[in-house]
Symmetry: C2
Amino acid sequence: MRFTEKLAARWREADTLLCVGLDPDPNRFPAPLRDRDDAIFAFCRAIVDATAEFACAFKPQIAYFASHRAEDQLENLLAHIRSAHPQVPVILDAKRGDIGSTAEHYAREAFERYGADAVTLSPYMGLDSIEPFLEYTDRGVFLLCRTSNPGGNDLQMLDVGGVHLYEHVARLAASQWNTNGQLGLVVGATYPNELARVRALAGELPLLVPGIGAQGGDVQAAVQAGRTARGDGLAINSSRAILYAGHGEDFAAAAHEAARRTRDEINRHRRR
Amino acid sequence: MRFTEKLAARWREADTLLCVGLDPDPNRFPAPLRDRDDAIFAFCRAIVDATAEFACAFKPQIAYFASHRAEDQLENLLAHIRSAHPQVPVILDAKRGDIGSTAEHYAREAFERYGADAVTLSPYMGLDSIEPFLEYTDRGVFLLCRTSNPGGNDLQMLDVGGVHLYEHVARLAASQWNTNGQLGLVVGATYPNELARVRALAGELPLLVPGIGAQGGDVQAAVQAGRTARGDGLAINSSRAILYAGHGEDFAAAAHEAARRTRDEINRHRRR
């Protein structure tokens, strides 16, 4: 099954558009976990098990593992998800981008070493920097399009012949670059007008939408701007608001409740 | 000492603009090394020791380590360079790009975990994605500008109000974005006309120039297009042509000779 089909199946079968972002920060872990050698794995596994029923995808952010020399814990976490929650795809948030043989090595890192279902990439180096990833035909690629940060304006809002650069990227991803139906786009919830514009340009492409919660994006606006006619097409990411919903021994139960509430809030706006 | 000063000191004192790229591929290692558990470290250490006298910088490409689960060998390699060749700065080629707290984690990975002197980043997400790296005031950042691959055309050659996108990036890097003199740019040797244009726009900014050798860029054209009035300003990268100059037990001696020849070829065109 292709990644985009696996994600669509999960939207339908679990009735959720919530992507649970895994940005583990040991300083925010509950005290009993903090001293474990495998604290990052143990924390994330507890979150994953507590939230899987509400998740259309998990999105580990690789920087949080790499800055702590915890690549082995990321490997173990993805192995756990494949084994315990095989129906929930994993999007490795790595924002890679490089050429030729180097891109092949990054693809091997994401898809073979970690076994991710999809990866985030930067479009700046062009189609040939993406092709080595697309050769894994059952996997997916989310290209950065309109990112959720204010600095996203610096390049993405430049006028490139009557459209903004992010619109040009959305068009490429929905046409010439999408040779095998493997592409999606990253569009921040903080810019609902641009999210609506990307949906208009990109047809049914899956959109990975960060920026609700701590970054201030509004769930209702994001869902109404980004949904397809079918009321799906979105993986709306929440990280900190779920991971750190509780700070004591009940952190997993608190994450469960936060994920359920967020899933429900998203669903309230899907079909109107 | 700031990174840009360290690099400039090395240009002067060692009379070289050659950057030795470390893209280790175990399939191409000489047979006696291949079976060692630390083959990647051992190979790169031998290359580093054989070429340091001709190098203005070393540029390890992190994907080659990550795809082989060899982050520990990359750590050991950078520790070895700091100890044995402290005057040669290390540019970690990672092409990262992310926002806020995630960028902080990538900066910690590059500058604290690996102890790199500089890192390559993508400009697509804007200035606020670069700032967490610039907070390490003694380190440097090379922003992707005009990359050496054909697909670089896809976005970088778009017209953004009378200039190409890569020219716009060069201007930003030479002005508003370069708040503390820490920035450089990545410009491929395969496009000498654009390299000359970047030099005209970017003043004395250091340019990291991949693309000679295996990718077909011409050394004379690149040096003449990219040099400053002082005859420096460039870190011209060669990876495969040096790493795999020899295939037997004499690989380090062959790399030594290849690095010397490349350094000399670059120098022949610096001051004309």
